[in-house]
Amino acid sequence: MPIVIEHLNYVYMSGGPYETHALDDVSLTIEDGEFVGLIGHTGSGKSTLVQHLNGLLLPTSGTITVDGLNIADKATDRRAIRRKVGLVFQYPENQLFEETVEKDIAFGPKNLGLDDAEIARRVKGAMRKVALDYDALHERSVFELSGGQMRRVAIAGVLAMEPRTLVLDEPCAGLDPRGREEILGLIRDLHRDTGATIVMVSHSMDDVASLAERVIVMNHGRVAMDGAPREVFSRGAELRAIGLDVPQAVLLADKLRERGFDVPQGVYRVEEIKAVIEGIVGKGARAC
């Protein structure tokens, strides 16, 4: 069942000197199995929005229903919602605390009250999904790992709860290009293999362009655009006006058009622009 957000408002530190209206009348529906990219510059309210999806923050006004359950309802078991909607925070490696990798990943399933055999199965499954070698790593201390590995352990910790919706807040922040590719790759595989709903927050257009089936653009706590990537990325001037860029492929397509080449509208993926360029230079170039 979908996640339905209606007229959501959220105010931080209401009444104080630093009162911030972080979300302003946000209405959205996230359907099952979608891959949503949520973009916006820093402070646009992305993190605040995603923390509502599993009831960590409750609306100042407006409603959110997950599987037909209103998260703000007193009768709603918020832990049940957190089992449906897994949230990976920004810099999730900061939340690691256990002695070993295995124990840390088992923290979530243990809180769900599962039995040992099921916990073990889930830990192994989650480590496989994030491409960590169980045999080599499960007894290692989390604090001995590399940055990229720690991040993957943290993601595995959420995956082990087997949520049907996975929300990732800037999963690639602070990683080198290779680490970024790895994380993006495993998110893509996860979506493809399990059909899970994915909401990925990012301020990198290229990350979103390479994965998302739907792009939501936030600006000053409001939804500025919402649609298919092809459609959103064709509105380059508007994106630039709110401090965002278009993906590199779109930039390149624009430049080529300026030079008089015939590039079809709506090109936004690296593979697409690659095909276009190959078309321009002719088949012979591919051999090089």
């Binding site: 530190m13 957190r82 949230l87 900061n94 923290f107 979530g108 809180n111 769900l112 910790g157």
Partner: protein
């Protein structure tokens, strides 16, 4: 939840109270609090309230906001109230049922003690709300400087306070984030008995300590990279200066203290 703490928070502004010298504000706040502890009757507390109210009005902070700062301490205040109520000895019994003995003196004591605590919190809140942490520690360092003659580490103390104050919001924010991250993994910080609750803190405290130590390490390196060697021969960007405002503030406080003393003599 963590947003409710107003004590120690700075409310930027440009009122006369904001512009006073932090040293003077520190001294006057201490005078005010000491004064409150000597008040012995209700009209006296009304005077204290009136004085505080006027200062708050001048500072442009809403009085409600100040009252909000007392809320987190309501249990401590209630606790001392009850403690005083039951354990202060007195002569005129008010209630005397079974093992409960409450005397008129005890009630009086309990009320006054609670009032003193409330005024203590509100008084210091006015100071911290109108003085930036930087100014506050600057003022404190200058006030304590004479003690350096007897090897009291005034500068070091002030520096430690500055750093602590600087990192309180950061640590609160971090606590909030880690707590939420663990809650997203199904952690429960709210239910269970004392032992399960204490255990539930481990997933919060370990990451918090790890990050606090990392931050401390980074800060130490950054300070060393900028050649920090302690207080000797350090010049400052902003020198503190007393102005006419400070004289007015001091006069107002002296008048207020005099009023309390006179009132105490007449009625107490």
């Amino acid at each position: 939840m963590l947003n409710d703490i107003t004590l120690g928070q700075y409310f930027p502004g440009d009122s006369p109270v904001h512009r006073m010298d932090p040293r003077m504000k520190l001294i006057l706040t201490i005078a005010y609090i000491v004064g409150v502890f000597f008040i012995g009757n209700l009209p006296g507390y009304l005077l204290a309230l009136a004085f505080l109210y006027i200062v708050v009005r001048i500072s442009g902070i809403s009085f409600k906001y100040l009252l909000k700062g007392v809320r987190p301490l309501r249990f401590i205040i209630l606790f001392t109230f009850i403690l005083n109520l039951f354990f202060v000895q007195g002569e005129t019994p008010l209630i005397d049922i079974g093992f409960i003995h409450i005397t008129r003196e005890a009630l009086r004591n309990a009320i006054f003690f609670a009032l003193r605590l409330i005024f203590l919190v509100m008084g210091t809140s006015v100071l911290t709300l109108t003085t930036s942490p930087m100014q506050l520690t600057d003022g404190l360092e200058r006030l304590l400087r004479p003690l350096q003659k007897i090897h009291f580490p005034a500068h070091e103390l002030a520096m430690m306070m500055t750093i602590a104050l600087r990192f309180i919001p950061t640590l609160l924010e971090e606590t909030d984030k880690i707590q939420k991250a663990q809650m997203a993994r199904g952690a429960d910080f709210e239910s269970g008995n004392l032992i399960t609750r204490a255990k539930a803190m481990i997933p919060l405290l370990v990451p918090l300590f790890v990050s606090a130590f990392r931050r401390a390490n980074e800060l130490a390196m950054a300070m060393e990279a900028r050649c920090y060697r302690g207080g000797d021969h350090r010049t400052r960007l902003r020198e503190l200066k007393y102005t006419r405002l400070d004289v007015y503030g001091a006069l107002a406080t002296v008048v207020y203290i005099a009023l309390i003393v006179v009132e105490g003599r007449l009625l107490g």
